[in-house]
Amino acid sequence: MPSAAVRDIVKEHGRLAVDVESLSDDDSLYEAGMTSHASVNVMLALEDAFDVEFPDEMLKRSVFESVASISSALAQLDVKAA
């Protein structure tokens, strides 16, 4: 699971109110201050970094809720640990 790489992207683009390292993989990024605008930038950066495209059915709030949910979405898209 590319959890560390996901954390780097969330740190850079998620505009959290707290340090991402203070969150567990399951903590809500939205509750940590990620706006929907910031979440779009996170998605774009993930697509770029892992060379994937999230299909429309994956583009929803719950998929980008936490580091764990993002990692599992990437796993479904066959992204190997980066």
């Binding site: 201050g33 779009v40 774009l44 697509e47 999230f54 429309d56 059915e57 709030r61």
Partner: protein, 389 residues
């Protein structure tokens, strides 16, 4: 016909009577005096229309959302403000009924809504949020013994003074972030409204929507279980955009009908003579049909998706339902203005059978109720990432 189709047809027959016999009669007075359309809302209560969307197991009529949207169109053709009060109430009912999550308090509330035909207003806007409904400043504050209090500065509460109950968005607790919201149903008896402004707007004058400081003490059972972010995405936002768009289509359709009546009268006065403005009417029809097509296709998409919460949560769906709001709110005043151009001065005057001033003014509220620029900004972000639009 199926039972469901029968129910929808019976409901719409009743709405049609209220629209023609009552809403149409009082529309100009409601508009001129910026007063609540009390006759229309009372008549809708008598028809049990306020509980139309309540599921049958709680005593409601289980009317479909398509039929309620059609009712917004029918009422919108006769009185935009009456239609807007009706629509905003139905949005709150749909929101509650779709997110009961087994709450006994809300199930009992729906039964009471049916028997008393209670009118629900919404308190979603708030000073200090820049018009962003997905953030709150005011917080629900525990008061012990399963009670909680709040105080919210609301810049507009439509028909707040006439509502029986209020559905209010708040931060979930005093330490919650601005986006961590809940929806709370506060009843009139436990709420005080301190009016903070006046109400003398350009259009939709009968909605009576001044600002208030809203204070209440409620039981914690009155807090909806689901986070407001999912309630908004899966129900409140799409249902709002669908019902509003049907009203705007209704207003634009009546503006077009008045322009058509004007052309027909002119043609009758001088049989065989060409009516120069008739060609302009044909141009208005192309614009009206674009509006109608957008509204109908969005409704079809909802009917396909309404039970599929995952699909409703996708960005693709959000894009479409936002686009409906943008397209319809920009197109409806365009149709009204062009229809006024067909009628000329008799459309501009307020006291002719072809008056279109009220339609134009009412339709101009459309791009402001949730500001279009904010929605365009959201969609601009979604377009960066969505695949199929």
């Amino acid at each position: 016909m199926t039972v469901a189709a029968d129910r929808d047809a019976a409901f719409l027959a009743g709405i049609g009577e209220v629209a023609d016999a009552i809403a149409a009669v009082h529309a100009d007075d409601v508009d001129r005096n910026a007063r609540f359309p009390v006759e229309t809302i009372d008549a809708l209560r008598e028809q049990r229309a306020l509980s139309a969307l309540v599921p049958a197991e709680y005593g409601g009529d289980a009317v479909s959302l398509s039929a309620v949207a059609q009712a917004c169109f029918v009422l919108g053709r006769r009185c935009g403000a009456s239609a807007m009060v009706f629509a905003m109430h139905q949005i709150q009912v749909a929101t509650i009924a779709r997110h009961l999550d087994g709450s006994a308090w809300f199930e009992d509330y729906l039964r009471e809504l049916v028997s008393d035909q209670r009118l629900i207003a919404s308190v979603t806007s708030e000073a200090g949020t820049g018009g962003d409904m997905s953030r709150s400043v005011a917080a629900l504050t525990p008061a012990g013994d399963g009670r909680a209090t709040f105080e919210k500065q609301a810049p507009t509460v439509s028909y707040g003074a006439y509502a029986d109950d209020l559905l209010v968005t708040l931060r979930a607790h005093p330490d919650a972030g601005g986006g961590e919201q809940v929806a709370v149903l506060a009843r009139a008896g436990e709420t005080t409204l301190e009016q903070t402004g006046t109400w003398d707007p350009l259009g939709m004058r009968g909605t009576c929507s001044p600002g208030y400081v809203v204070r209440a003490e409620v039981a914690t059972d009155q807090v909806m279980t689901a986070p407001f972010s999912s309630i908004a995405t899966q129900s409140m936002v799409p249902v709002s955009h669908l019902l509003w768009a049907h009203i705007w289509l209704g207003i634009a359709t009546d503006a077009f009908d008045r322009a058509r009546a004007f052309i027909r009268a002119a043609a009758r006065r001088a049989p065989g003579e060409p009516v120069p403005a008739a060609v302009r009417l044909s141009h208005v029809m192309t614009q009206l049909s674009l509006l109608r097509a957008e509204v109908r296709s969005a409704m079809d998409e909802w009917v396909e998706a309404e039970a599929d919460r995952e699909r409703l949560s996708t960005m693709a769906f959000a894009l479409h339902v936002n686009n409906l709001k943008l397209a319809a709110s920009e197109q409806a005043p365009r149709v009204c203005q062009q229809a006024m151009g067909v009628c000329g001065i008799v459309g501009f005057k307020n006291d002719t059978p072809y008056s279109i001033g009220r339609h134009l003014r009412d339709s101009m509220s459309a791009s402001l109720m949730v500001a279009n620029e904010r929605i365009h900004q959201t969609n601009a972000g979604l377009l960066l990432i969505a695949k199929e639009v």
